[in-house]
Symmetry: C3
Subunit: 657 residues, 3 copies
Amino acid sequence: MFGICYYPEHWPESQWKTDARMMAGLGLTYVRIGEFAWSRLEPNPGELNFAWLDKAIEILNDAGLKVILGTPTATPPKWLVDKWPEVLPVSPETGRVRGFGSRRHYDFSSKIYLREALRISEEMAKRYGEHNAVIGWQTDNELCCHDTTLSGSNTAKQAFQCWCEQRYGSIDALNEAWGNVFWSMEYRHFGEIDLPLGAVTETNPAHRLAYRRFSSDKVIDFHQQMIAVIRQHAPGKLITHNFIPMVDTGVDNYALAKNLDFTSYDNYPLGRTDLQFADWPAEKLQRYMRTGHPDFGTYYQDQTRGLNDGEFWIMEQQPGPVNWAANNPRPAPGMIRFWTLEAFAHGASCVCYFRWRQAPFAQEQMHAGLLRPDGSKADAWPQMEQARDEIKALDLLTHSPSRASVALISGAEAQWVSEIERQGEAYDFNNIQFEFYSALRALGVNVDFVSVEADFSQYTIVIAPSLPIIDEAFVQRCKRSKATFIFAPRAGAKTREFAYPLTLPPGPLQAIAPLRVLSVETLRADCPGELHWQGKIYEAGIWREELAAENGEVLGRYEDGKPAILQFGNVIYMGTLTCSDFLKDFFHAICDRAGIATYRWGEDIRVCQRGALMFAFNYAGEAQDLPLPDDGDIVLGQRRIAPYGVTVWKSAASALQ
Amino acid sequence: MFGICYYPEHWPESQWKTDARMMAGLGLTYVRIGEFAWSRLEPNPGELNFAWLDKAIEILNDAGLKVILGTPTATPPKWLVDKWPEVLPVSPETGRVRGFGSRRHYDFSSKIYLREALRISEEMAKRYGEHNAVIGWQTDNELCCHDTTLSGSNTAKQAFQCWCEQRYGSIDALNEAWGNVFWSMEYRHFGEIDLPLGAVTETNPAHRLAYRRFSSDKVIDFHQQMIAVIRQHAPGKLITHNFIPMVDTGVDNYALAKNLDFTSYDNYPLGRTDLQFADWPAEKLQRYMRTGHPDFGTYYQDQTRGLNDGEFWIMEQQPGPVNWAANNPRPAPGMIRFWTLEAFAHGASCVCYFRWRQAPFAQEQMHAGLLRPDGSKADAWPQMEQARDEIKALDLLTHSPSRASVALISGAEAQWVSEIERQGEAYDFNNIQFEFYSALRALGVNVDFVSVEADFSQYTIVIAPSLPIIDEAFVQRCKRSKATFIFAPRAGAKTREFAYPLTLPPGPLQAIAPLRVLSVETLRADCPGELHWQGKIYEAGIWREELAAENGEVLGRYEDGKPAILQFGNVIYMGTLTCSDFLKDFFHAICDRAGIATYRWGEDIRVCQRGALMFAFNYAGEAQDLPLPDDGDIVLGQRRIAPYGVTVWKSAASALQ
Amino acid sequence: MFGICYYPEHWPESQWKTDARMMAGLGLTYVRIGEFAWSRLEPNPGELNFAWLDKAIEILNDAGLKVILGTPTATPPKWLVDKWPEVLPVSPETGRVRGFGSRRHYDFSSKIYLREALRISEEMAKRYGEHNAVIGWQTDNELCCHDTTLSGSNTAKQAFQCWCEQRYGSIDALNEAWGNVFWSMEYRHFGEIDLPLGAVTETNPAHRLAYRRFSSDKVIDFHQQMIAVIRQHAPGKLITHNFIPMVDTGVDNYALAKNLDFTSYDNYPLGRTDLQFADWPAEKLQRYMRTGHPDFGTYYQDQTRGLNDGEFWIMEQQPGPVNWAANNPRPAPGMIRFWTLEAFAHGASCVCYFRWRQAPFAQEQMHAGLLRPDGSKADAWPQMEQARDEIKALDLLTHSPSRASVALISGAEAQWVSEIERQGEAYDFNNIQFEFYSALRALGVNVDFVSVEADFSQYTIVIAPSLPIIDEAFVQRCKRSKATFIFAPRAGAKTREFAYPLTLPPGPLQAIAPLRVLSVETLRADCPGELHWQGKIYEAGIWREELAAENGEVLGRYEDGKPAILQFGNVIYMGTLTCSDFLKDFFHAICDRAGIATYRWGEDIRVCQRGALMFAFNYAGEAQDLPLPDDGDIVLGQRRIAPYGVTVWKSAASALQ
């Protein structure tokens, strides 16, 4: 299925019918509209104007298109913020109000804004909830984008005090939980609590963790209430949200995604690659600047798919150069089709492009669309047509994505911990998680992202790249699984309230990995030590733990012979971070032992399975030979895979590896 | 003619006579005084004290010197800002008041400050307007230096709302012009408009462009009113202003310069080179750290000369090490004389040195003067004497600088556009313009900077390095000229209100360059593609456009064979930025074809013509042989040009190339 | 003697006895407690609770331990800052209040905080002043750590106005002293004076110097009043303060240390090395990341020793990885013992470790202790035992550290000047001073740091790496000494009120070094010129002066043959900064001539003398042969010094070199 993002309010009404007809002609099914249109829906306080939207929906419906309607709460109008200035958020870094003039100018702690957002959402849901053409809803837009999770406002401070009171009950319990005695940081009552901002030097990490939890909870509250309002008036309709990466928002997306029918992701491989890998040398960046890093798009797609354990959409697909990265290259030839097939291969059930026609004004006028501002068809148009026909020929959507054999445990708490207590400047939660994912993907292994609360019983291998906070229940779930568990350093290194486990790390994990971390050192990324494994020497750097264990098999050692990786039955504990080469070799060995098929076909080839179909994607600008046994089962493309090409064949076994 | 910057208020009155006598003895004609002396002229509100200034002028006059009197408005005294705190500007970045304690602490939007500045200026003009010794006036000092064009004050906000109302008439027109519907940014009345500052993410580029225009207009208003006040009381006297580069201020210097008798420039080649080229590797910086980049001083001098199409002065000439760059080297031996001759060669009619005697206190005590604090003569002294004698011997001032054959179109709007919408981090307006200028100067070609509103009919070649906003009138002026026009990428890429042309770029330019820009990509500076031209391969990077044209000759192509440079009759459109080597080769070919003489005499030699005199300047520390046909016409220096030397000869043709 | 830092309030009372017994068993003598415990000592305003502290002291006393009691003024409790918000400091950079939540959240200009700090200190002094177990006091904790010397508060502004009035008497005198006429910066009365913050561009350096002096004076006032209060109630007890480096605080530590019985230093070689040398390439950092730079720990120890010309302690010794640097490596094997011996060799009379047991909560939970959070003994434990036994065997404390032959003149004023007027970005006061110190230490020469007011008569060589402000009295003291004086560039370059000497630099120093600095240039660090000395070429960069002298011997010359180093009798004036190689060669020659023994035993060996004992420390990870004549006098270690090893032998001459 395919869809498009469209803004009727940006174009003269006279153009709407032509647009709708062309959309239908292109084979699109869905049109997302409305998510920034508050100033048109309510031009003055309380003065609702749905006439134009009625008309737009009618025209789209007449053309056979189905509407996903966005609540416009990402862009409250000027009158609203002038009437209630407290809805504006405050920058935690500078203490300045973050004002009107762009988008997302609201504070999740503002009860007034919550009321207003629910009011406009309810008005829309009442009007269109049972409208035939409106088959689904998108809540807000990219919640918490532009670093809007945290606010340093007085509103947020008061809400935080209430949140603390609810969580800890008594101020003594809070003081005790946070260890406030440390630097005379003890409070006498909840009204004394500040946000952990603007202090002379670093604030208590437990205080900061509470602030992160509180901030995440506020976003979740906001979102869940909005879902409930829509659900009430739009029974039986789909509700989704277009997520941006969890690491960008620092919100618990697992909780945020609850009660959605499916999750969506906004997929911009080039912009994200440019920003994420800005420190790459030229030869490396040049290689991927027009394709994106081979694992970077799917990294977030697989995460989005994992949020509610099922269906996901690409709600916005980059169709050409964008406007918001530091550098905005043109995609390599054919990449729009390539990314489209890739998303479906990773389990998407629909891909929507952003946007229909390049806007000729305001912030995104340099962002490509399927059409140029003059109405001519941009490069993405024929590519979308090709992908559409190929998906149909493959009958792809009948191949349900099924659970992978390998799971990566992810979650916001690990990110919060590592941001609050960096300890080593090179310890970056997202880099670490991405390195683990990328190593697995270089082996052609499908990967599920799961939360720490997941049921691990169906997985063969479960890997935790960074999991400082765990509890007994987690350990019990591990025990109930026969999977091979691999824990990277820092597992169990913190209690729930950001304290050091009194039994030393890995704390509760000692029940299944009986070892003690005697000390930790962090090294600059370019000053690593060594990891010896199976006669080869790799890097052991960034975060290195001194391990003590009575038993356990020593899998890897440091340069001085001390244990770096220990195995206890089906549990492997890595005491050190390491290099990508090690991760590939190590996971390769683990997969082989576990009977999981691997496809380590070179740096630029990625293999992925969906149902009975195997996909190979060539991120290189040169054709390459795929080591397939024969051509017999190829259903798309060739054994010699084209530059930026895709080859699809039928899997010998219809089950996943 | 020569002059000096002098501060009698810094020295005991007993020293003034000696100073005046020495100045006259050195052959100086002009003395600029008074521009920071407000606290001495009006020590208490309304209490004027001109006695000391009367005396100083009298002494200078008695020595035969002429005074350029500065209005002291760059430094309002403490009592003024305490009495009316609203005159203080506010930092647009931080929102903090920019307070007293240095200089330029006033907001161009403050009506109170305007009133006060005009009052003190008028008082001075009344007193000295017809004074025999005061032959000219300098308005304020380096307007907008230290990033003072923009203010984020409430005063500025209210003034901006008025400005908007005047420009757009109705709020609907403004909303439409800016495309405010995009993210519900629509206003209901002018009083709702904020400055485009402090929003959550980027604000509307049309909003920002309006803010830049407004801010520039405020400076122009301030300046023009001051000129008018002086003119009224000082009829027949010269009025000038000492400009700093337009790119530093972001003000429309063409408008700012109107009604001046001539423009002036403050020439600090070393300080500017150190700051501008701070990322240069050591071997490159070392080469020019004591001379300045060969084109960097004249780049701004030629711009200043172009502001009002006539005479210009160096009002402040660096006489030795300065104090304000990150590193402050000593000029190479002879550079003061070198820079002096260079300025005259580029059309200056007077060079004034800053300052007479090194100040032994306050902010600039490490800034050299002609005299050291102990009264001894610094290195600059004998060099100035040499330059003075040489200029006289050459009878240089009888050689009027005449219009060049090559014009570069410059202007503040292009800078505003590229700062507001960077699109690619490597797209830097000033770098681009400088690369174009430098390539022309490496060919020894005289260059005029002209505004987009200039009359192009007298030029042979007209080049627009960055010209996103044009109108029909511009296209008509192009049509009326027989010049070869060269447009770099982004020409015509924006409408007047910062929208995308609905006919695609280059918008109105399509009338003379019938092509369409289908897409744009920006690349990191170190990741360029290729430009193929006349069998050679150059860089095509930073900003690359996909061009479509029915006709037109393809002059250059990208690595994939697609057109990169197109020619339509006398109009050349470059779809890509490129490297310095290409610009030199390309302009060389264009000049040859147009019959313009070139002097491509190596990396460190610059040739310049003034009237019938040809100048060669050697920026290298080694002597070099100039490829002159014979020595016959040499009137200064030798064919083997000395290190940091100057050679002058009589042009075969007395007209400019 | 040995000690420990302990926080009984962090642990259950039930653990105190065991802790005390273990401490005594380890051979510790001193326990520092109490310095962050205000919220436990006064949980509500005026409600004092000493019961727990009585108990803790009793238990420690019973185990035979002696207590150093800290005043808890580094951490005022929440109720205090809520009751009197003016005690909070304001960031001079951002203008934002620096709030509660960590430590050091008070403004040295707040009279209310001074009153409160003296009140709680007096209460403690009254209660424990004559307590048998409390043998000493520590004032506050690391005064001015976390950049808390300066405050931009209104409180500070008013205090600064008073300070100015006291210093200058009349506003005319201040205007004259500062040269405020320069940019109309003249004040009419003291109430008009702002802090030199937030102006449009740089403020008057004289104004800034006054602000630095004022800020330093406020800290000294605060400290001296606290000392007086303790002294009054604790007659005969020791009072110390744990200093951090003077360059980190920008306070005149010589004045701050007055009236203390001894000074203390908090010694964290790895954390400091990581932060200070963050720009080092990997190969260089890797070499010292687990040892610290060979001269960096002792650099500050020797400074601390020099503060009051006598005894010093290590009050906090790093026992393992810390938590606060950008990267926190584990010390190399044996480094705790190594650092302990090193401190004693440099004159320490006691080494205390920080901390007893790693805290399992709050900000420093990743900071190692002698014990781990689970009570197990960390690496530092046996190393401390070894050091303890060795110190005893050497009978080290009977060897009094005596005055060195070489003195380095240090002081806060030089740092203020170079921070206020950088002139060249590479001119860094601390780097320069450290390079000089490190060159001397590479020669194995003991070094005393002395203030500009010291008596130089007992030294053989006196070196001033950076000494811009001097007076006649200083020159007289120089004249009275027979030492060889070496002045680096910038000596005497400023008057006391930050003006340029009217006789040119080196100002008053011209009485003993009759030369004039004609001009100064600053160069980027990677663009040096040359220094020719004794037939060899070294670097002359960063700061280079043009020197004129009638007489004087030219010791070194620039690349153009002009004098760079001049000698006048026993006074040497260096006109340029230079490289480490030159400093070593040059000081080597000077020492040889002066009859000072040197031990230039390679890059990683450092030799130090204490009394009759000679110490060699090997910072390398490989064993090395020491060029000792024979093994006869070795009393610890071997002639082949172990990796990270220490060798001690008896000096032939019992006196210092």
